[in-house]
Amino acid sequence: MSGFDETTRTLNFDAPNSYIGRSVTRPQARRLAQGRSHYVDDMVLPRMLHVAYVRSPHAHAKIVAIESKKAAAMPGVVRIAAGADIAMVCKPYVGVLTHLAGMRSPPQYPLAMDVARWQGEPVVAVVAASRAEAEDAAEMVDVIYEELPAALDAERALDPAEPKIHKEFDSNLCFRRVVDTGGVDAAMKDAHLVVEDTIHFGRHTGVTLEPRAILADYSRADESMTVYHCGQSPHMMQGIIASRLSLDEHRVRIIARDVGGSFGIKIHTYGDEMAACALSLMLGRPVKFAADRYESFVSDIHARDHRVRAKLAVDREGNMLALEIDDLTGVGPYSMFPRSSGVECNQVLNLTGGPYKHKEYRATGTVVFQNKNLMCQYRAVGHPIAIAVAEHMVDQAAAKLGIDPLEMRKKNVVPDDAYPYKSPSGMRFEALSHQQCLAKLFEIMQYDELRREQSELRKKGVHRGIGLSCFIEVTNPSPMFYGVGGARIAAQDGCTIKLDANGSIVAATGVTEQGQGTETIMAQIAATAVGVEMSCVKVLTGDTDKVPYGGGTWASRAAGIGGEAVLQAGLALKRNILEIGAVILKTSASELDIVDGKVVKKGTEQGITLAELARICYYRGNELPVDFQPELIVTRHYRVKDYPFVFCNGVQGCLLEVDADTGFVKLLKMWCVDDCGRVINPKLVDEQVRGGIVQGIGGALYEQCLYDERGQMLNATMADYLVPMAAEMPDIETAHVQTPTKTSMLGAKGAGEAGTGGAPAAIMNAVNDALRPLGAKVTQQPITPEVVLKSLGRV
């Protein structure tokens, strides 16, 4: 019994044949484990060409002249194009969202026009028969630059004396916003204690193992373009490519097949990718661009470059009264199109302190242009900063008052029975579970035992640190995220589901797969909704020709939004099938159910298999009444209506050891209790949490894009930019709390970003917990050995 109750219109997710809540393995995993994958660079098309780019070596420079005759004559070279050439077929784009009031950014072209504005900006495109030949020719292109002073220090970006990046603007300001409940000053004045700190977060980047790649194939004959793209949002890209290249949107097809990791990196509009599409248009041949690792470092979006000043006021008992932050972030010379480089800062303003009960809040966010690589959305956008700031301040106040950090949080989180609740920053929470999660964390960490052990080891000079973080996470966004601001990014999603002639189910969905298991959970939902075994379900994603118009996967929306559309479509298909079954079995639909692929009279095994039912519908329609038309294909859409975002929440714990002599931090173990609403596949959620946490560890301890005083990125290699590798990573224990959202029948919230959002906070708190008896404190990330040693006064 799949247990759909028609009267209450709810699904019994715990019914015996339900796949919801089961850790089934991923059907596509075996193919990937055998190397039978289809990443963009695996694709070959007839007469395909390759493009390599000459990139600006300067952070800011006038392009005086480009000499490319020698290069054009080199073996294999088909075309050389500069900014103006590409601009003839590709319109510029502006990365501004109108609902981020006052945000501004000038039009950006795929290749630099008269001025190069960051080291790594593509300047000249070289198209050749092979990538190697294109690179040979690129070396022979001579670009004459006149270096300009560069704006590289966010703190000085708005000084009149600082180089202004865009002549048309009066300053390097991109966006500014203030949130103010109005009572912060009064609350701070009367507070028993105000703690203050300034925290720096290092700019870092996604480092997807598969670099960005695109293969554009323009057909002159029918003015259509097919683009193989490893992006997360195929329909969004369809719209962008069509509008920028002046093509009919329905003649542009985007196909996302296997994607080697994205995490938000591959959801933005990159000049080198747009130029590749433009070149295909110009040449009438397939053009492939596959970024190499160096290009990835200097042109994949960076993120999380913030300086936050924070103040927290508490009363004598440790109740939080008021929180104030001032967030400064230096982005690139342009706001990234189409999602804008203001959202990360906006999230920091929206989310800092979110789990807590304080009433007064003031937050100022300033986003400034810089002559460094562009910054934009990367997994858990803004959350790692917002959470780390609040969690650090909570710990600072707790320490000053002598309150245990866990007790401090228990005291201050919004109680589980207080919902719906609105945060001082205006965020509306439907139902969260901070208290339940804290209780669970206490249990699985064996918190008291860890504290006892820590205390014993301190006597032996071993400095263990225990850190906590309480987090909220934006998931399942409504149109309030992008659509309302003018971006053509779908907040709704759809699923077209059909019963095929052989009795199998095919579900086409607008959300996409990058390895997290989207296709798997959609299959689980579809199978549950219809009443079949998962092995009969095929899920189609990623091809704009094959799936309903949707948003793709980002902001942890696939399970909650894509999943709901699949559920509704599956239930609707089931209803249609039962109508057909009723006709064939000469009974009423309410007497029937679908169990394990068979339409049966409820409580019996008598009935007709879906295969046989399909055969009748497709081949033997003569057996059906003349006035009856079976419809075995159904489409349903879903969007979040009741809330701008459906928040989820959780808590993380971190146990580590600080070597006070070397400054090295050794992670011993981490924990996460995550409430992502209804869990569809516990194992996949666990793995999202683990992978996300390790990505957060990267930002907390290892990763930073280092720039010198001339705006040159110093560590653009895998040897110099430090990503987490296996030997240093801890085991991570996970647990689930489930507070299903009532905004959908499925009740699923998102789970993909919680690990990354909460981990840096837990780690920094743990390091400071270890250092506290030594009178030291760190307030910057990544926490390198030198940062620790400096805090201890050892260097």
């Binding site: 690179e135 070397t662 040897a719 390198t784 260097v795």
Partner: protein, 280 residues
């Protein structure tokens, strides 16, 4: 990042290799393991016109224990050294260093000679060669010559190898009774180049340091020793280590993540921890 064009030659003997190097002069580079050279080509920071692949030259690989020395031939892969019973027995310092050299896939191809000829200042093997007082055997047009380790490492990626010469082996004196060695390095991630490392060798006479060679790597443009530091420990016991650390007067260079002051501090901490192993 595709390598620039080059011509490829695969000599079958040392003499052929030398002849090719002479013919092509500074347009040629030797390809041994390739684990450091090929990335340079892929990044196009090196663009030799000729690559001389010495990997198939017979007699250039292997570990030989002779009467008074162990000879490691230049083409011996790191992995062979890592698993060698002879190295573990006679040159335990090197055995202890090998697991820190990159990762298994790199060690399968990378060679002893390649590592020494490249002379990355953060590499383990050059430091071990210096600590163990090895002698390098170099082949050139005029035949073979021998260069003591202390004269071999000249600066950043600079060695005593003259143009057209090939490193063919290194000979390590067999340890005497009472000799001890110790190794340690600090790296953010297992297999990374060291932030700071130490390869140390000494004779232990009546529980006291004698003839200590404490070689630091990752702190300068080449593996370095501090005469002042070694002198401060000469004839002293392990108890003197802590006090001698102030005499460690390396002048490290900062790197991307560590200032010179941090490097010096870490070198002292590491020395303090590792040198005690000499008396273990």
């Amino acid at each position: 990042m595709k390598a620039p064009q080059f011509a490829y030659a695969r000599p079958a003997s040392v003499a052929e290799a030398i002849a090719l190097l002479a013919e092509h002069e500074d347009r040629a580079r030797v390809l041994a393991g390739g684990q450091s050279l090929v990335p340079m080509l892929n990044f196009r920071v090196a663009a030799p016109q000729v690559l001389v692949d010495i990997n198939r030259i017979p007699g250039l690989s292997g570990i030989e224990v002779a009467n008074d020395h162990v000879r490691i031939s230049a083409l011996t892969r790191h992995t062979e050294i890592e698993h060698s019973v002879d190295i573990a027995r006679h040159l335990p310092l090197i055995a202890r260093a090998m697991p820190h050299v990159a990762h298994p896939a790199i060690r399968n191809r990378g060679t002893f000679g390649g590592s020494c000829a490249l002379a990355d200042p953060a590499a383990e093997l050059p430091a071990c060669a210096l600590a163990l007082g090895a002698t390098f055997v170099v082949a050139g047009k005029k035949g073979e010559r021998r260069v003591p380790a202390q004269e071999f490492f000249k600066g950043l990626y600079a060695t005593a190898l003259a143009p057209g010469e090939l490193l063919v082996a290194a000979e390590f004196p067999l340890p005497k009774p009472g000799d001890a060695s110790a190794f340690g390095e600090l790296a953010r991630r297992h297999g990374d180049y060291a932030i700071v490392g130490i390869a140390a060798h000494c004779a232990v006479r009546e529980g006291k340091f004698s003839d200590l060679r404490a070689v630091f790597f990752g702190v300068g443009d080449r593996p370095v020793r501090s005469a002042k530091f070694e002198l401060a420990l000469e004839g002293r016991t392990a108890a003197a280590i802590a006090g001698a650390l102030d005499a460690l007067d390396l002048a490290p260079r900062a790197d991307l993540y560590s200032s010179a002051a941090t490097k010096l501090h870490l070198a002292r901490v590491l020395a303090g921890r590792v040198l005690r192993q000499l008396f273990a």
